[in-house]
Each structure stands twice: as C-alpha cells, then as structure tokens.
Amino acid sequence: MSATTAAVPFWRAAGMTYIGYSNICAALVRNCLKEPFKSEAASREKVHFSVAKWADGKQEKPMLWKLGDLTWFFMLQLSAQMMNKDLVPW
C-alpha cells in the first residue's frame, strides 16, 4: 500500500491517469503468471478499436489502436511523457 501511495505524485505528474497506471500494474501482474494461465490472461488484454477526433463538424483521420503486449506500450508511453516533462530520473 505504501509503495503505491508514494508513487502517485510521480505518475500523476507524468500526465497519466489512474486508469493508465492501474493498467500498467495489471499488465505487470499478468506477465508474472505461469503458463497456461499466462496465455489465457493474454487473450484478455487484446486491444482493438479506432478513434477519430472531430473538429468543426468534420472527422479527422481515424487512429487505430491495435495492441497485443500492453506492458511495453504503456512503458513507452510513460517514458515518452516523462521525457516531455523533464521528469526522467536517469
């Protein structure tokens, strides 16, 4: 419990939401599973949808989200956001 509370200001400052943070944690936990549970859990983290933003009543180019391994995606996203905000500890 104390570890999570201590981490809050950091991911919040990096521009992450609670959902993104908990998703990373969930993906890490899933990665710790043994087979056959691991591949079973992997089927529950398939992400596929396309998002299009709208401006002035016109649709912009849709973006397709298609992810298999979530952990690395979120890690990348996090590190990119941290670098943007000069939050990289290393």
């Binding site: 509370t5 969930a26 949808f49």
Partner: protein
C-alpha cells in the same frame, strides 16, 4: 394481362391474314417490349414467382443462421455482463449517481453498435442522447458527443455534426475486455474536457427488454463541490483514508476508475442488448419470410393448376369438336 390479350389477337391476325404490314403492326408491341413469358408460350409464366420464392427461401436461411449466431454469442456475453455489474455497484453505493447535476460542460458518451439488423436499440440510444443534449445545452453551457459505434455515428451526423467531439468504432472485433475499454477510457479522459460525463447505453434486462440507461460521472472538481454541499457524495468523509493522499487526489482516482468501470459495463450491456435484439429481430424476420413463402407457394400452385386446367379443357373440347 392486356399485353397477353393483345399478343394472342396479334397471332390470330397473323394466321388469318398473310399481309406482312398487318403482321408487323400486330407483332411490334411484343418485339419492342420483352414479355415475361417466352414468345409463343400459352400461359402466364411462373418463372418470376419461382425466382422470388427461391430468393425468399435464401433470405430465410440467412436470417435463421444470424439468429443462431446471435443466440450462441449472447450466452457468453450475458454472463460477462452480469459479472461486470459488480464493478459499478460499489461506486454507486459510495458516490451515488447525480443525474440532475447542472454543470457547464457536458459530454454525452453514446454507446451504440457497429452493425445493424438489431431492432431499435441504436435509435433508442441516439434518441436518449439527443434528448439529453437538448436538456444539457443552453446559454453558457456546452454539450458534446463522444460516440461509440458506427450506427450511432451515422444517425447523429445528420443533425448534430457540430457537437461531435470524438467517434470510436471497431470496438467489437475481439470480445470486449476491460483492458480495451480502459485504454479507450484513458484516451477519452485525456482528450475530452468535461464537467460531467453522461454514459448512455441500453441496459440488458432480458432477450426482449432493454432499458435505455444513463450514468453520470462527475469530474473531480465538480465532485468535490458536490461533496462539500453534502448529499450522497458527502458520505465519503465518514471513510478512513489510508496513506497520505488528500481527498481531492482520492476523488480524482476514484472518478477515473469509476468512468472506466461504467464504460466497461455500458459497452457490455449494450453488446448484450444488441445480440438479444438481433436474435428477436431475426426470429421475426424468419417468421415473416416463412409467411411470405407460404403465400407465394399458394399463388404459384394456383396459377400452375389453372393453366393445366385450361390446357385440359382446350384439348378435350378440341377432341370433342373433332368427334362431333
């Protein structure tokens, strides 16, 4: 019918008078306008009816298959939907639902399906969203749409183009899972500014009954204001909070998690309703196709019998004329 009479007349003319001009004049309508029956056929063709029967039979096969597919998918989704209800119930118990909250920036998250042929669930969703839009927009207030699903988008583009903020589709390529919805919720939270999110979906009651439902999620700031003014949200103070987080931090985390849970449940409920609605829609359309097929068969047989009877009468009367 008039054409057939005309042609028979024409043929008689052709037989009786060998004049080529008269024959041309008599035959011309038959040449210029192709008839259903081949030239020289004695009775009305049943070909058209036969083709129609074949196509109706094929359509019936398709609708029956769609019904089966929907029914088998429904079972799995229904279990997941019922389980997912446990996700938002604690939130409602803790924070309550505030459908009548009056805020400046409303975002309506309308959940619809990507595919059609599922009765009226998409138009119900859209209708409720539109009513909500009317209710929440006004002077100094703003109301925007975030649309999940292709069908809702198509319907809302027609008159509310300007209010669309974001559309999402292809959500149901894989079976809906929490991770997927969480990534989507994350994306919505980051890109859409709101004081209150209103998630609209069809709640699955049974295979034939879906209730349009709205859940309100407040932004942390509004939530804090609400909790200060008391009410259900004010009960949060009676909980002991572990760790060094402030109340606003906790509220922010909670509302974000609440949104992803509500969206997950909403997407599942709507998917479940879609399958249920498709099942009953396909059931009734198979039944309609069956009725239509019965009627067509009756017409077809009656015409066939009538032409056979006519032929028999012609042969018999011809024979008796020869004898007599």
């Amino acid at each position: 019918m008039a054409m057939a009479v005309l042609r028979r007349e024409g043929r008689r003319v052709l037989l009786s008078s060998p004049s080529p001009a008269a024959a041309m004049a008599a035959r011309s309508p038959a040449v210029s306008q192709p008839e259903i029956a081949p030239l020289g056929a004695r009775s009305i063709s049943t070909q058209v009816v036969r083709n129609r029967m074949k196509s109706v039979k094929n359509i019936q096969k398709i609708t029956k298959a769609m019904k089966m597919v929907a029914a088998s998918k429904l079972r799995a989704v229904q279990i997941r939907t019922e389980n997912s209800r446990g996700l938002w119930q604690p939130f409602t118990a803790l924070l309550g639902d505030a459908p009548n909250v009056d805020v400046k920036k409303n975002v309506i998250v309308a959940i619809t399906s990507d595919k059609g042929l599922c009765g009226g669930i998409n138009s119900t969703s859209v209708k409720v969203s539109k009513a909500l839009h009317k209710l929440t927009s006004g002077p100094e207030k703003e109301s925007k749409y975030v649309i999940l699903g292709e069908k809702g988008k198509v319907q809302l583009i027609r008159d509310s183009k300007q209010s669309i903020e974001m559309t999402v589709s292809e959500l149901q390529k894989n079976p809906i899972n929490y991770t997927q919805i969480a990534v989507l919720a994350d994306d919505i939270l980051k890109n859409v500014k709101f004081d209150a999110l209103r998630v609209v979906f069809n709640k699955f009651e049974s295979v034939i009954s879906f209730k349009p439902t709205m859940t309100t999620i407040l932004s942390p700031e509004v939530m804090e204001k609400e909790s200060e003014s008391g009410g259900k949200v004010g009960d949060l103070d009676s909980y002991e909070i572990e760790g060094g987080e402030t109340k606003s931090e906790i509220l922010q985390n909670l509302t974000e998690f609440q949104f992803s849970c509500v969206l997950y449940n909403g997407a599942l409920e709507n998917a479940c309703s879609e399958l249920g609605a498709r099942m009953s829609a396909m059931d009734s359309s198979s039944r309609n196709a069956g009725d239509m097929l019965d009627r067509l068969t009756l017409t077809y047989n009656r015409t066939r019998q009538a032409s056979i009877t006519t032929e028999l009468i012609e042969i018999i009367s011809g024979a008796s004329a020869l004898e007599g």
